[in-house]
């Protein structure tokens, strides 16, 4: 059986997409202005070097931006209108920004491209912690911690213990061939 189109869902999505045209009468913000604000917030507060106060501040600012993003208004028609396209994209930009900010605040260590001024070193206990974020409506995200699937012992054995120790906790390395041999 072919999947059927849910007309109600389509109508809802269509209405949502056209919202920026109907908010025009109510005098909402210009999507480009909201985008600039979002860009500036993320660049300054959740940038390359991160601090918890700044990220908390960012999350607050993102709430305000979300309100504005919901009521942006566009001018012009529907044919190839970048203002309208941006109004649609803003929702996704906002969700991604929320995910980045929330996960970065939660992760109390520095790892790869994530550098915390208040937690400057890499912490092995964090390596196996995944932070999974999912959208909860249009302007909220939900965070859960999930355990990383452990590496299979025969794969772990392919690496030297000294190298692994830099990244893994003692517990995870219990079954390594070097450890077994020492027994």
């Amino acid at each position: 059986m072919r999947p059927a189109v849910l007309i109600d869902e389509v109508t809802k999505a269509q209405e949502r997409a056209l919202l920026p045209y109907s908010s025009a009468t109510e005098g909402g913000e210009n999507p480009f202005v909201v985008q600039l604000e979002l860009q500036k917030t993320m660049n300054e507060l959740v940038g390359i070097i991160r601090k918890s106060e700044e990220m908390e501040q960012a999350l607050k600012a993102l709430q305000e931006i979300a309100t504005k993003a919901r009521t942006v208004t566009v001018e012009g028609g529907r044919a190839f209108n970048p203002g309208w396209h941006l109004a649609l994209d803003l929702r996704n930009m906002l969700l991604v920004s929320l995910c980045v900010a929330k996960a970065a605040l939660e992760r109390q260590e520095s790892r790869g491209g994530h550098t915390r001024d208040d937690f400057p070193v890499m912490d092995s206990d964090w390596r196996h912690q995944l932070l999974v974020l999912s959208a909860n409506g249009e302007d909220d995200v939900h965070l859960v911690r999930q355990e990383q699937v452990p590496m299979r012992p025969e794969l772990l054995d392919l690496f030297e213990l000294d190298e692994l120790k830099k990244y893994y906790t003692g517990e995870e390395l219990g079954g390594h061939r070097a450890g077994e041999a020492a027994k």
Binding site: N30, F32, E75, G76, F80, N81, G83
Partner: protein
């Protein structure tokens, strides 16, 4: 260092349009696309422009700047004086959708008309063997980013709608050349180049080469050699004699 520039941008759709004047701020290091984006942010939210990479690699932002076909993201503002009026118009050879965005499907149609790579039937995939030196020649053509600036510039189709049907344009004649030069391509492409893709329309003016942002020597390295290959075939005395005999035998 900032200053106010005078931009003149074509605004309109497939029916009508006009040049609109905009005073707009320009900062150091910016390119024309940055200024178009500033216009969107500050004065013309619905100004349509196509772009993606801002790095001269996607070929989306092709427009005409002061009449010259160029990539908007690679045209530095520092190449103009502060007093100069900068006129930005859509590509002229293709129908306008809105403002600076044109319908470039002509190019996709032409691309589809060229049969794809055809290795000899008895060579299995995985058994392809080629010498680097034989491959090198067509490698240059692979740099193409499909910005269609060359297609837009070529006088054969610019302002000559009637030629579009019979002419593939420099980018796609180059594609034919690339396949014809491919050491493992077994298809005969020479006759089709002339008869179907309109190679004969090209009179090697090199205008296409001049606008190519990838600096591919389209005319010198693809079109002229392809013409030579076609001519070689056409006026090859052996082929000529063969055809005569064949014709007589058939008659």
């Amino acid at each position: 260092m900032s200053y106010d520039a005078h931009f003149r941008v074509w605004r309109g759709d497939d029916e009508k349009g006009e040049l609109v004047d905009y005073p707009v701020a320009v900062n150091e290091g910016e390119v024309v696309l940055d200024i178009i984006h500033r216009l969107q942010q500050t004065q013309a939210q619905d100004l349509a422009v196509r772009w993606n990479c801002k790095a001269g690699k996607c070929g989306s932002c092709s427009v005409e700047i002061n009449g010259k076909p160029r990539l908007a993201c690679m045209t530095r503002m520092s190449t103009f004086t502060e007093e100069e009026v900068i006129t930005v118009t859509p590509l002229r050879t293709f129908p306008v959708i809105r403002d600076l965005v044109t319908d470039v499907s002509f190019n996709y149609t032409k691309a589809r008309e060229i049969p794809s790579f055809a290795p000899p039937p008895d060579v299995e995939p995985g058994d392809y063997r080629m010498q680097q030196v034989d491959v090198e020649r067509s490698q240059e053509f692979r740099k193409c980013i499909e910005c269609f600036l060359c297609q837009n510039t070529c006088h054969v189709v610019r302002d000559h709608e009637e030629n579009k049907e019979n002419f593939a344009g420099p980018r796609y004649l180059m594609r034919v050349a690339e396949l014809d030069m491919h050491p493992l391509d077994a298809a005969d492409r020479k006759e089709a180049a002339q008869e179907e893709h309109g190679l004969g329309y090209c009179n090697i003016t090199k205008c296409c080469t001049e606008v190519c942002p990838e600096h591919i020597k389209i005319t010198d390295n693809a079109l002229i050699p392809l013409k030579e290959r076609v001519v070689d075939r056409k006026y090859d005395p052996v082929v000529w004699l063969g055809k005569k005999i064949f014709k007589r035998a058939g008659a």
